[in-house]
Amino acid sequence: MNKRSHSIAFWAAVAVFLVAVLSMTQIVRNEYPFFAGYVILQFIALAVAWSILGGYAGYVNFGTNAFFGVGVYTAVALFKATGAPLVVQIAAAAVVGMTLGFGVGLLTLRMRGIFFSIATIALAIIIETFVMNWRFVGGAAGIQIQRPPVMAPFDSYVKMLFFVQAVLVVIAIAIARYVQNSRIGRGLQALRDDELAAECTGVPTLKLKLIACMISGALISAAGAPAAMYLQYADPSSAFNLSYSVSALAMALIGGTAHWIGPVLGAILLGSTQQLLAVTISSEVNVLVLGIMLVLFVVGAPKGIIGLLRPRYRLRAGGKQ
């Protein structure tokens, strides 16, 4: 298949997906699928966004929770101050996330490998501390939020959030796919292998890393923004929970980072398992199952799920399909 027909197939699939999601919100009455589905979609967006920096560029971001929390609190602050509608909250979160990504990039991207990861952990803790001391959004005590009325054509707010998160997922995937297939992807891959050699071969490493960091940050924050309306409550320890970092990373790795579909598959698998375990096993054993799954998958599928599906798939960021 050539590039163009690939593109057509991709956008057709996107259209089908969005139409399916939309009609689901109109047809299905039971709300639970939307509650659970929202969470899974949120994780898809996170994993795809994470892998733009973590997979392609090899900069392992441990601070997914920082960006997520920033998204949540941007939405909260904006909503509390101006009552801005959801779309504006998300857009604002993306802008703030992008700015934060830019800042993080400037500050930390000169650090190599694991130094970067640790710096992002530090960043998450620093930002969480700020939010804890920010009384306007409730500080450590948290804040309860009253949703505005839902907009047509949706009959429930959660269905609307579900659809919105599906759109965010599509945006994240489209961007990841674009990055992967453009020369940005090859540049990121080159700098992942050897930054000095990449520089000397003409790759603007700092710029590419900044771009990746900003895109990734913007997408993570955007995916986090609706959480404020979903929970109708925000508190720093939930919004900045380390588990967002672990999940995003684990999902991307379990799926495989060589292709944007990897994080999608990983998030669907791990996210729905988590949802399922929460309402079936429902005790400490679900954490055990999660742990064992993590271990088994990284051990048994070293190239991720996509590596299992296509055995000859090379473990390679930005590799052509």
């Binding site: 540049g187 080159a190 990449a198 520089e199 000397c200 071969t201």
Partner: protein, 244 residues
């Protein structure tokens, strides 16, 4: 283009000094390199050759001095912008993009540094590989190459930048003399295409055959600069470097 501009040196290195801690690796180096020139750089191990080209390619910043390329002061530019302006280099100790095939390694340079239509990139890359005798390895993962193949790929990747100035840091080390000849022929043919080349090499026969001018460094200082024959005949060069 007026004659003054045409005659202006392609690369002007001015009073370059670089130290590591208390150790001076480059000590006040000034040299001009003409357009289209084949320039040999020799000197004992640790005399600062690699450091000099690190400063030219931007991998290192000098403490003192300037680098002027095509009339533009590039001392403060990062390496990738220098690559785009036409400076390419190979690394003495090869640094391949390990997760890529040989062909993809070249594509990076073509994608980011070289101007030209994107469509033809793959053909250009293949033609460079063919010239380097690496065509059969185009699809091989770069981490399966032998040392010498890696060196060749270093050079090929530098060529993919489509440079005005190509710097080769001991690309021929470890080659048999017939292979040295091959690579040399290649470099000379590049020279005929108006590419300026700085070659660092310890293989004297190669240096002699290749260079229009030779510069010899010792302990970070220029001890000789001139026609190959002259430099080889220089007493200090013989003592410090050739050992004859």
């Amino acid at each position: 283009m007026n004659t003054a501009a045409a005659d202006a040196p392609l690369l002007q290195v001015g009073t370059l000094t670089r130290t590591f801690g208390g150790f001076t690796a480059l000590d006040n180096i000034s040299v001009d390199i003409r357009k289209g020139e084949r320039f040999g750089l020799i000197g004992p191990n640790g005399s600062g050759k690699t450091t000099l080209i690190n400063c030219i390619s931007g991998a290192l910043k000098p403490q003192v001095g300037s680098v002027v390329f095509c009339g533009e002061d590039i001392t403060q530019l990062p390496p990738h912008l220098r690559a785009r302006r036409g400076i390419a280099r190979s690394f003495q100790i090869p640094r391949p993009f390990r997760s890529m095939t040989v062909l993809e390694n070249l594509m990076v340079g073509l994608d980011f540094a070289a101007a030209g239509p994107a469509a033809a990139e793959e053909e250009i890359a293949m033609s460079i590989l063919t010239r380097m005798g690496l065509a059969s390895k185009a699809g091989a993962a770069s981490d399966t190459l032998s040392q010498v193949e890696l060196r060749k790929m270093e050079l090929a990747r530098a060529m993919a930048v489509r440079p005005k100035l190509l710097i080769s840091d001991e690309a021929m080390a470890g080659l048999s003399s017939s292979e040295v000849d091959e690579v040399l022929d290649l470099l000379i043919s590049l020279g005929e295409e108006d590419i300026t080349i700085i070659m660092i090499e310890h293989i004297m026969q190669a240096v002699m055959r290749f260079s229009e001018r030779v510069m010899c460094l010792d302990a970070g200082k220029i001890i000789a600069l001139g026609a190959p024959g002259e430099v080889m005949a220089n007493k200090r060069v013989q003592e410090a470097y050739l050992g004859t």
